[in-house]
């Protein structure tokens, strides 16, 4: 029974179907609907957890919990879902963060029905993005999930919400057109036409086609992750979103970019990955340093954290570019970890804003005296974000560092330079995060602020949400195998695949035979070789 039950379809459709009932729900005081949404969220998360517990084999790199039904045979579209090591942690993360986001949305009073309807629709849509195994279907759910985000941004955001929402949708939608183009090109190449991702991964494409498709995917996912210079929608969107939406944006949506990069760019186009990887490494370093600097200069709290997200995603790129299991493992862990830490920080930013009613750092100061609990939680989450050992972010960054340092795909000077610059990020991160804490909480109270705002400390609901997020953050930090064991088999397989594409990668760690492959020319002019 456990094996045959359509778990994934259930967990995707349950919140969607449940959301359709919201309009007919009897709800006089606007409170029933939030309890309803929370219950649905919890039930769905419980189902995910149960399916993981019963039906998921940790040691397998293969797709599991697979379901496949023909949907539109005319165009070859299947409803095909399944999870492997790459999807599973992110599906779990989605269930967890979205449920907490619903709880975080407790005080929403504007159009609660519509709000919770959209949250539940998002719930299903996000899981679908990570679970579908048909590339056409992937494109569809990728697009569909934009609509609730767009509306959530445009209706409940800050003052410039319309501009931010428009920018968000234009960027992402234009980006996603590239997915469609590349997907079609890959599906129609060769003798058989198939949209199934596993079939696509088995085909062998000429290098030129790989490069084009890689570039197309990269643009789409660079918008989502985001990667410099396609990141500029993010500070706007994050600067305007309300806390629960924020948690979803930072906690889950960004991870779709990283997920798809590993699944498609690495898993389907390994030869192109070998050529593009140095570019990814450089972009990763640019992300880390550039976003850390902009975050430092930023005076708006939400935007500051938004830039810090960009900076942290740089480590995902480095891990992806490392050609080592350790590095890729660190990249996936960084996604999970940032999902938790980003969500917690954005929630706390929202909680602080609810009290100070300003996001400008200069208008705060000394807030910690009236709000010691929020201060403590904010400090804990900021320390997690600056990769303090004992918390998840450290393990992820450490593994990326070790992975890249032991990578044999790059020449020594290139590797040393990348590591040096990435480590500069390690210095910059505490500068902007601690400056932020200093300006909000430390020092004497800001007279003007306390004169017209009532600063009350955290309520139990808020402490509970942060506690829920901190438990896995610290748990992973203390014993990373809790999460890495879910995907270790898969990342090992993916790394083995891409390593085949890099010539002469034999030197084991510690042998110190200096290098190895020629420095890949910064790419595109090597079109068509091989």
């Amino acid at each position: 029974m456990v094996a045959d039950f359509p778990w994934l379809t259930t967990v995707i459709l349950l919140p969607v179907v449940a959301s359709l009932l919201i309009p007919v729900l009897p709800d006089k005081d606007g409170r029933t609907v939030r309890w309803y949404a929370l219950t649905v969220g919890l039930v769905d998360f419980a189902l995910i957890a149960y399916a993981f517990w019963q039906g998921y084999d940790l040691d397998s790199a293969e797709l599991q919990l697979v379901e496949r039904y023909a949907w539109l045979p005319q165009i070859g579209l299947d409803w095909s879902v399944g999870v492997d090591g790459l999807s599973m942690p992110l599906v779990l993360l989605t269930g967890f963060i979205t449920t907490l986001a619903i709880l975080a949305a407790w005080p929403v009073t504007l159009k609660p029905r519509l709000f919770y309807f959209l949250m539940l629709a998002m719930y299903g849509g996000q899981i679908a993005v990570f679970a579908v195994q048909d590339i056409l279907l992937f494109f569809l759910v990728w697009e569909l999930e934009l609509i609730p985000v767009y509306l959530l941004l445009a209706i409940w955001g800050g003052k410039k919400r319309q501009y931010a929402a428009n920018k968000f949708i234009v960027y992402t939608a234009v980006g996603s057109l590239f997915i469609l183009v590349a997907a079609l090109a890959m599906a129609f190449y060769g003798d058989t036409i198939s949209f199934d991702m596993r079939d696509l991964a088995l085909k062998s494409y000429p290098v030129a086609l790989q490069l084009w498709c890689y570039a197309a995917f990269l643009i789409a996912y660079a918008v989502k992750l985001p990667i410099f210079p396609l990141h500029t929608w993010l500070p706007d969107a994050h600067g305007e979103a309300t806390a629960p939406v924020h948690m979803l944006l930072a906690g889950i949506l960004l991870k779709m970019g990283g997920y798809a990069l590993v699944r498609m760019n690495m898993g389907m186009l390994p030869d192109a990955h070998a050529l593009f990887a140095p570019v990814l490494a450089i972009l990763g370093v640019v992300n880390i340093i550039y976003a850390a600097l902009t975050s430092f200069a930023q005076r708006n709290l939400k935007r500051k954290i938004a830039y810090s997200s960009i900076s942290h995603m740089g480590f995902v790129l480095l891990g992806i570019a490392s050609f080592t299991t350790t590095g890729l493992s660190g990249a996936v862990l960084q996604m999970v970890s940032h999902g938790l830490i980003g969500a917690s920080l954005f929630f706390l930013v929202g909680a602080t804003y609810d009290r100070t009613h300003t996001l400008i750092l200069e208008e705060m100061g000394g807030v910690g005296q009236k709000m010691p609990k929020i201060f403590a939680m904010f400090t804990a989450c900021s320390l997690a974000s600056l990769a303090l050992p004992g918390m998840s972010g450290f393990v992820a960054e450490l593994m990326v560092f070790i992975g890249f340092a032991t990578s044999d795909a790059y020449t020594l000077p290139f590797k040393a330079l990348v590591l040096l610059l990435a480590a500069v990020g390690v210095i910059l991160t505490p500068i902007y995060l601690l400056s932020m804490l200093r300006q909000i909480f430390f020092g004497p109270e800001n007279e003007e602020l306390v004169s017209h705002e009532k600063l009350v400390d955290a309520e139990p609901r808020e402490v509970f949400i942060i506690a829920c997020l901190l438990v896995p953050i610290i748990g992973i930090g203390l014993y990373p195998r809790l999460v890495t064991s879910i995907y270790d088999a898969k990342t090992t397989a993916v790394t083995a695949l891409v390593r085949q594409s890099v010539p002469r990668l034999q030197a084991p760690v510690g042998m110190l035979t200096i290098p190895i492959s020629p420095p890949y020319p910064l790419i595109l002019w090597r079109f068509g070789v091989r």
Binding site: L146, F296, I427, G443
Partner: protein, 666 residues
């Protein structure tokens, strides 16, 4: 029985962690209730610390009796073929550190009960203290570099939290951030050094790295300059943590934290972690002579710089802080001449007498606050003190013992350990010895200046201090205390002082140059430090010459101090009158803070602002523009201008619904 003891060694760091977690969780969930427990929390944490101390002493004793080193590892992280181990190692070096850390921590905790008695954050303080102790104990038990890095950062975090403990104070808030960021600069080097060694050797354990480095160097597979570079990168970690030049600037500012913290973290234990790491890395450094040279001269220069600045400080804690920097310089110098046992010996004696001096200064400040009010600037200014010997006899006596110990007067502890360092430095390079010798003279001078200003003469009150300089400021800060005279501190504060006085006098006796049990213990085969060169048979003549010269310059310094400050203090510094330029240079700490501000902080801020400007104006603009060009063809621009991009979303929705519909029909 003994095996069982080692099996429970993990409890040593875990018990304080448990205490911190319990109290911390209590504070965040049932804040009011937990805060009201006050002493209840403190007693819990003290009890757990006491158990840790007992275990540590038992482990240490077992090591003294010659038990083999004990290691225990588990696989912490896995990625394909890559495995990362964590665990603990109990050998002679780590068991010694365990005892030092737990004893000082326990005494500081007892002291804190008195010192923090009226503080709102009493319980929070104990939670932090316990968390720090756990991290520090984890650090000394680390079997490999990554675990060292983990706890290295954790003690740094505790330091951050504790420096910023009084977070409503402006100075504390700046100091906390400065400490963390400067330490991160060191960690940056440490991280890169670890990665470098791992890349070259595939090892993370100290002896593993050492063996492999030796092989690779011998085979010529690893260029010497690369290995030297990695060694220096790792050394950057201790440079920051142990406050060596040029990354020492955070430590004096860190004195904004409560005084027990200054004693525990910023004098006795955490800042000594750098020295400890150097001792652990010694098997590796042994093969890297240039790195060792860098270490030695950094230490020597730091010792000198710290002492020159300490000469003129008026804040009692700042003076002690620079003295700590200077003493840490001695230890690092000993590491640099590859005699880790000498450095560890000074680490141990210094931990006890410097903790006592800091706690003594805390007792003084506590007494002063009764007179001048809760203003750290006034209460810590030595120009406001004087004659405290009369009011605080216990504090004065213990402070004097500490002062004699640090000045290197026999038979106090500091004499033996400092003399040992000067001795080994002389054998390595007379230049190092000369710097150390001059520093010893300055140390004697500034310590007795401090003692005489604080405890000698008559009580001055606000006659010469900062309050006296700014009369108008005095007028509106009516925070005057309730007493006209300072008073001796309560028993919980004086008792730790008295207890610490015992090792400050006696602990040096384990390392007499003619019967050096201490070095023998650390150099025994099987311990981590077996690489120390055999000292030749003991030479009384040489010893008397070396000891005589260092005691001699110490006595000169003390005499100078008595001549200058022995009489009635009139607010005038005799030597400052004589050498105004040098005085200003020292008082302003060699202008290093200003230099860093201008060369690093300001340019960084400017760069960040420019990056943000670029992001708004150029990147955003360019990408928006290319986006628009693409959209023009699709006529979406029209909708964009009307602010109706929802239409676009609607189109997608309709299209998808259409697809679904088609599927239903087929």
């Amino acid at each position: 029985m003994e095996q069982a003891l080692y099996q429970y060694a993990w409890l040593v760091p875990v018990l304080p962690l448990l205490g911190a977690t319990l109290v911390g969780t209590g504070l965040i969930t049932f804040g009011e209730w937990t805060s009201r427990l006050r002493r209840g929390n403190a007693v819990l944490i003290l009890l757990l610390m006491g158990v840790s101390l007992t275990l540590s002493v038992a482990l240490f004793w077992s090591q003294v009796l010659g038990h083999d080193p004990y290691t225990w590892n588990f696989t912490w992280a896995v990625a394909g073929p890559f495995h990362l181990e964590m665990g603990l190692v109990v050998d002679r070096l780590s068991s010694l550190m365990l005892v030092i850390v737990t004893t000082v921590a326990l005494l500081v905790m007892i002291y804190s009960d008195g010192y923090m008695a009226h503080d709102r954050g009493y319980s929070r303080f104990f939670a932090y203290l316990s968390l720090f102790s756990a991290s520090m104990l984890g650090l000394v038990l680390s079997p490999n570099l990554v675990q060292v890095y983990v706890f290295w950062e954790l003690v740094g975090m505790c330091s951050y939290l504790l420096i910023g403990f009084w977070y409503d104070r402006v100075a504390a808030r700046e100091a906390a951030q400065k400490a963390f960021v400067v330490n991160r600069v060191g960690d940056f080097g440490l991280l890169l050094g670890i990665l470098g060694f791992y890349w070259a050797t595939g090892q993370l354990e100290f002896t593993g790295i050492a063996d492999r480095v030796a092989e690779l160097l011998a085979a010529g597979a690893l260029p010497m300059w690369v290995a030297t570079g990695f060694g220096i990168l790792v050394f950057l970690g201790p440079v920051a943590k142990s406050a060596q030049v040029p990354l020492h600037v955070w430590l004096p500012d860190a004195m904004e934290g409560p005084t027990p913290i200054s004693a525990l973290i910023h004098a006795a234990t955490m800042v000594a972690a750098g020295v400890f790491l150097l001792a652990r890395m010694m098997p590796v450094y042994e093969h890297l002579p240039v790195t060792l040279q860098v270490v030695a001269w950094t230490g020597a220069f730091t010792a000198f710089l710290g002492a020159t600045i300490a000469l003129t400080q008026n804040d009692i804690k700042k003076g002690l802080a620079y003295s700590t920097i200077s003493q840490l310089g001695y230890m690092v110098m000993a590491m640099g001449v590859a005699v880790p046992a000498a450095g560890m010996f000074h680490l141990m004696t210094h931990a006890y007498f410097k903790a006592m001096l800091f706690l003594g200064s805390g007792s003084v400040i506590h007494g002063m606050e009764a007179v001048v009010g809760h203003d750290p600037i006034k209460a810590q200014d030595m120009r406001n003190m004087g004659g405290l010997r009369k009011y605080m006899p216990i504090t004065a006596a213990t402070f004097l013992i500490g002062t004699l110990a640090i000045c290197g007067i026999p038979p106090f502890a500091g004499f033996w350990s400092k003399d040992e360092i000067l001795h080994v430095a002389f054998e390595a390079n007379w230049g190092l010895w000369l710097v150390g010798w001059l520093t010893a003279g300055m140390t004697a001078f500034y310590m007795f200046r401090m003692y005489l200003l604080t405890f000698g003469g008559e009580f001055r009150g606000l006659a010469f201090g900062p309050g006296a300089m700014q009369v108008e400021e005095l007028a509106h800060t009516e925070t005057h205390g309730h007493a006209s005279e300072p008073h001796e501190s309560p028993l919980t504060m004086t008792l730790p002082l008295v207890i610490l006085a015992v090792p400050s006098v006696l602990v040096g006796l384990v390392g007499l140059p003619f019967a050096n049990y201490f070095e023998h213990f650390l150099e025994e085969p099987g311990s981590a430090l077996q690489v120390v060169p055999e000292l030749a048979g003991f030479d009384w003549g040489e010893f008397l010459l070396m000891a005589g010269s260092s005691v001699g310059i110490g006595l000169i310094g003390i005499t100078l101090a008595f001549v200058s400050y022995g009489g009635k203090f009139t607010g005038v510094e005799p030597l400052a009158e004589r050498f105004p330029t040098l005085y200003e240079f020292s008082l302003n700490k060699w202008y290093l803070d200003e230099l860093y501000e201008r060369w690093f902080a300001l340019p960084l801020r400017r760069l960040a602002r420019q990056a943000l400007e670029t992001d708004y104006r150029i990147i955003d603009g360019l990408v928006n523009l290319t986006g628009l060009v693409t959209l023009v063809t699709g006529e979406v621009l029209k909708y964009l201008n009307n602010g109706r991009v929802q239409t676009y979303a609607l189109v997608i929705l309709v299209a998808v619904l259409g697809l679904v519909l088609v599927s239903g029909l087929s």
